[in-house]
């Protein structure tokens, strides 16, 4: 084997804190190491997942039978607002950033992020944002205008307690965290790749994170502007969104969805990246159509900014506007469909291992396609008029968020858990979790398509005993309980296997990318001392082939 490349140290020297020399809480609070910060992001995500999950479960219990009085309507409004806001901003986003800051440097053969302290700042801002949001519960009442917080419901004369101020502050603060972390990730990818790894050799997860970071930079300013105007309205009595004072409630919708639609792609693209790695490794084949997977993400990112008004078909913007946004929304189906076929073709003829990450990846293909198809149905204006604000929307968005994003994140969790902790998650437990979760999820949300079509509106705290309403809602609640059990099982598995699982070794999956090239699992404080030069897209697989001391079953 030829010469090796020494991997440079980060610009600022490593602090005397190592994973080996345990220093308790201080080690975490003062951490600038990207691996520790990545794990903190993931733990934060898990904590908020439990909080958001409890809220969801309480809502489903309230909806289990008609005319229920388990939750009062005000509380129900606060719960669905907090559930949505939590899951999107404080579960999905931190989980994505957690995987990104942990694995992007490892996958490109770097020892740190470009700006380690900025990385820590980003995490703490995100965390502070979450704390601010939840502080609203003790400060007079949680926000109660839905996660997209429409005007005029978000104005002081409709929501007079301070919940929405905390919503705005929490999202502004965590938005700062997201923006700085995205800048950090872009600079890391551009400047810290191991020599030989050109942009067209990047692992697909890194590609997706890279594209995604640009989306964050372009989309979040719009949310921040909207939140700033909202705070001016609420705190200084300006009239941006207050129609009585001459403002425009519609402006909020425009600003929010110019952010909001790219945001849903921000949530899905990293999952696409994780799955692109998982499909390769567990099918023992390179990805089918690397360039198509990468390029279609760029296409999705660009289209993301031209579709926002499809959330507003029912507003009355006129037929011209509606037709334009209807067409642009259908276009999104093309690059997304391309990806689905890429992954199917990757599996085709492969030697598939049905380990838990792969099970989630396959479940993703089916569930995300269902979510995608109901999405295309929505881009047809008359269907949207019929179904908007019904449970059909709830079903659609949960199929893309849970069936899509969360499936990808779980695939990533089970795939990378051995690298992060050094221990395997017990396969039997993993499969139990998978089946409980998947059956529970489909039970909960598949029937909601039906509920929406027979006319049940979303965001109502209870409903009369109309034909089928009771039965379908009861099935949905039963599914939610299964999901809760699965959630508890997941926490138990992480807890138990993280401490006492089977030792993983450096490369338990016989994987392809450089994060598995570290000497140990979890990686040492300094990821790499040196690596051989790389030229293949599957850099670690290439190294293993050359050194020839590995049982590659390709």
């Amino acid at each position: 084997m030829g010469a090796t490349i020494k991997i440079p140290d980060p610009a600022s020297p490593f602090p005397g804190l190592g994973v080996e020399n345990e220093q308790g809480l201080l080690q975490w609070l003062a951490a600038v190491d990207h691996k520790l910060i990545g794990i903190m992001y993931l733990v934060m995500s898990l904590i908020f997942l439990l909080l958001g999950g409890v809220l969801a479960l309480l809502m489903r219990i309230q909806l289990a039978v008609p005319m229920n009085h388990f939750l009062p309507p005000e509380t129900y409004d606060q719960f669905f607002t907090m559930h949505g806001t939590t899951m999107i901003f404080f579960v999905a986003m931190p989980a994505i950033f957690g995987f990104a800051v942990y694995f992007v440097p490892l996958m490109i053969g770097a020892n740190e992020m470009a700006f380690p302290r900025l990385n820590a700042f980003g995490f703490w801002m995100t965390f502070l944002g979450g704390v601010l949001l939840y502080f609203s519960f003790v400060a007079g009442g949680a926000p109660d205008a839905g996660w997209f917080n429409y005007a005029p419901l978000n104005e002081r004369n409709y929501s007079f307690h301070s919940g929405i101020d905390y919503y705005a502050m929490g999202l502004l603060v965590s938005g700062i965290g997201s923006v700085v972390t995205s800048i950090n990730l872009i600079v890391t990818v551009l400047h810290y790749r191991i020599p030989g790894m050109r942009m067209n050799k990047l692992p697909l997860f890194v590609w997706m994170v890279f594209v995604n970071s640009f989306l964050v930079l372009a989309a979040f300013p719009s949310l921040n502007a909207a939140l700033a105007l909202l705070l001016l309205d609420r705190q200084l009595n300006a009239h941006f969104f207050n129609t009585v004072g001459g403002g425009s409630a519609l402006l909020w919708q425009h600003l929010f969805w110019i952010f909001g639609h790219p945001e849903v792609y921000i949530l899905i693209l990293p999952s696409f990246g994780i799955l692109s790695e998982v499909f390769q490794v567990f099918s023992r084949k390179p990805i089918f159509g690397y360039a198509f997977v990468a390029a279609s993400s760029v296409a999705i990112a660009l289209l993301a900014f031209g579709v926002w008004a499809h959330h507003m078909f029912a507003v009355g913007l006129g037929n011209t506007v509606n037709s334009f946004f209807s067409a642009s929304s259908m276009l999104i189906g093309i690059p997304t469909g391309v990806k689905i076929f890429n992954w199917l073709a990757t599996m085709h003829g492969g030697k598939i291992r049905f380990a838990t990450p792969m099970l989630f990846a396959i479940a993703f293909l089916i569930e995300f396609t269902i979510g995608g198809l109901s999405g295309i149905a929505f881009s047809i204006v008359p269907i949207d008029w019929q179904l908007t604000d019904t449970y059909y929307v709830v079903a659609h968005l949960h199929y893309v968020f849970i069936g899509g994003t969360v499936s990808g994140l779980f695939a990533g969790l089970f795939y990378w858990f051995p690298k992060m902790t050094g221990r395997m998650i017990d396969e039997r437990g993993g499969k139990w979790f998978f089946w409980l979760w998947t059956i529970g999820f489909n039970l909960t949300f598949l029937v909601q398509h039906m509920l929406g079509m027979i006319g049940m509106p979303r965001r109502v705290y209870t409903y009369p005993n109309l034909p089928w309403y009771g039965t379908l809602n009861f099935i949905s609640t039963a599914g939610a309980i299964l999901m809760s059990v699965a959630g508890l099982l997941l926490v138990y598995l992480i807890w138990k296997c993280g401490r006492a699982g089977r030792t993983a070794g450096a490369d338990p999956w016989n994987a392809y990318t450089l994060e598995w090239a570290t000497k140990t699992s979890p990686p040492p404080m300094k990821n790499f001392e040196e690596l051989p030069p790389v030229s293949d897209r599957r850099a670690w697989w290439e190294i293993k082939q050359k050194t020839n001391h590995d049982d590659n079953r390709k």
């Binding site: 923006v179 995205s182 800048i183 872009i186 600079v187 930079l217 372009a218 989309a219 979040f220 300013p221 719009s222 921040n224 502007a225 909207a226 700033a228 105007l229 001016l232 200084l236 009595n237 300006a238 009239h239 941006f240 129609t243 004072g245 001459g246 403002g247 425009s248 402006l251 425009h254 600003l255 110019i258």
Partner: protein, 175 residues
């Protein structure tokens, strides 16, 4: 810094678009637009644009290894920036005396928010320039000048857009 500017550009794009959106909204009091003083604002605009050139001269002094030139032009830049802020301040005071305020009307809200956020960026720029100048006096070396200059030029360019939309374009619209 390019990435910061990228994301900031989108932020101002949203604010400017909101201003334009509001300008076409029924609640917008167009007569209040005429209370703006385009002449004095034009002078301060010229001052701000001039500060971009002086900062460029400072940067050139730095790259050519002339610390004296660097320090001199940095101070001139800061003074020009401060004059711009003072000008904006007098405009604010005058408008508020005329009872045009943030919470009074849609025009007031849009105007103060857009120009206020820009003014805040100028202020931040002044603080950073102050730090750079201080460091230049302490160490005779400051390598961050290139990045700071990029930010300052960006803030100037944003003002050109804001000035065009808020002050110049209404002159051509018929009300």
């Amino acid at each position: 810094m390019q990435l910061v500017i990228f994301t900031e550009a989108f932020f101002f794009l949203c604010l400017i678009m909101s201003f334009i959106y509001m300008a076409y909204h029924t609640g917008f009091e167009r007569r209040e637009l005429s209370r703006l003083d385009i002449r004095s604002a034009g002078v301060y605009t010229a001052v701000l644009i001039a500060s971009s050139f002086t900062l460029h001269l400072a940067e050139r002094g730095y790259t050519r290894g002339k610390p004296g030139v660097l320090k001199g032009w940095l101070i001139v830049t800061i003074v020009l920036g401060a004059v711009f802020l003072a000008g904006q301040g007098t405009e604010y005071v005058r408008l508020i005396r005329d009872d045009i305020t943030l919470n009074g009307s849609v025009f007031g809200a849009s105007f103060f928010t857009l120009t206020g956020f820009h003014g805040l960026h100028v202020l931040v720029g002044l603080v950073i320039l102050g730090i750079v100048t201080g460091l230049a006096f302490l160490r005779d070396r400051e390598s961050a000048i290139g990045t700071v200059a990029m930010y300052w030029h960006f803030v100037d360019v944003v003002w050109i857009f804001v000035f065009t939309v808020v002050y110049v374009l209404p002159q051509f619209s018929s009300v």
